[in-house]
Symmetry: C2
């Protein structure tokens, strides 16, 4: 059976591929596994049927035969372990690539999401401007460390892996801030990933959904 | 070769087992794998030797033969895949337990860390009090969803797994807030986990380090 994932019926990202279904779409294109996409509204995401799939009422979810998964990182790891193309075959290299998956989601993403969310949720607050430098500095610290580790390499550890895929989707959550661009090697890293045919196909697919919804 | 992990020479958590080495110590006790612990100072964590092991200058790290890993989630997944005791054998159940590992680290932990960090970093700021209800509400939303999913079960999905181990270490970052206690099933879940002999041994080991450093 073809797996089914869920995605926003109307993504708040204006078609820029920032929602977390983009990660799973991209991973599925990298491994050449077609999937069905079921679109859900914000209202449906809070209903029991969706909460049974995703306890935190978010997207994406993943359904395949009798297995239902949530959490984009877990879905991608599941795909990467089942199909070649997203993780090295060598056991040690595979463990290191998985470490980059966790680093993307647990070390890089939280300060980046916090910074982005402040601009949406707290923009009208009297403290908004005063807190921005602190939030930016947190992101800058992590970007500086990531840039130092990447150096002149194309990818974080050997060949392109699910670790790079997740890291790039996290870095793409900083558009317009100029923070990634402070590190030319990180900006080139994102561009290099976005040029992958699998990325292009996934991006086009999510953009088509947005454009249809926008009518 | 016995694996070696790193931990704080002087943990800022006052021996409460909130630093991320506790997760790895606990996992190693669950699988019955002894390890050596190398203590590092905050100054050493920023030096090239440590940054070669951990690009973001944190603890824990994990070294075993020719493999070096960082990110507590990745280390625990590596251990859980190598040794029985932390993940189900059935492939679908295993994928679901791994989803809980990612949920603990990527969905539950970020708002909990943000809430805890605000109390340390922003307590003196004029906006501190005004922002607390918002930060608390974010945590409350996630705790409510987690409580609803756990229901009357002992563990999140079948037997105790690495997903429960990580989730409990995340919930333990909320001491004194009373937020976990708003959900008796979550409070009992944490207590149930803390009663495990492997947890007790790991807790005692990290406390001994703290007490020695405190002299």
């Amino acid at each position: 059976m073809r797996p089914t994932i869920t995605a926003f019926e109307r993504s708040p990202d204006l078609g820029r591929g920032l929602a977390r279904d983009m990660r799973v779409r991209w991973a599925m294109e990298e491994i050449g596994q077609p999937c069905d996409v079921r679109l859900v509204s914000f209202e449906q995401m809070k209903q029991p049927a969706h909460l049974a799939l995703h306890p935190f009422g978010q997207i994406p979810t993943y359904e395949e035969d009798n297995l239902a998964l949530f959490e984009s990182g877990a879905i991608i790891l599941h795909l990467a372990q089942k199909h070649p193309g997203l993780l090295p075959v060598d056991a040690d290299a595979r463990a290191r690539a998985i470490a980059w998956m966790f680093a993307a989601l647990n070390t890089m993403e939280p300060p980046i999401v916090e910074y982005g969310m402040s601009k949406v949720v707290e923009r009208g607050q009297p403290w908004f401007e005063a807190r921005q430098p602190m939030l930016e500095d947190r992101v800058r610290t992590r970007l500086g460390q990531l840039s130092a580790r990447l150096g002149t390499a194309d990818w974080l550890d050997g060949d392109f892996s699910a670790g790079d895929l997740l890291m790039v989707t996290v870095l793409r959550r900083l558009p317009g801030s100029g923070l990634v661009e402070e590190h030319p090697n990180l900006a080139a890293y994102v561009t290099r990933a976005e040029a992958r045919p699998a990325y292009q196909r996934a991006f086009a697919a999510q953009l088509a959904v947005f454009n249809r919804a926008a009518g």
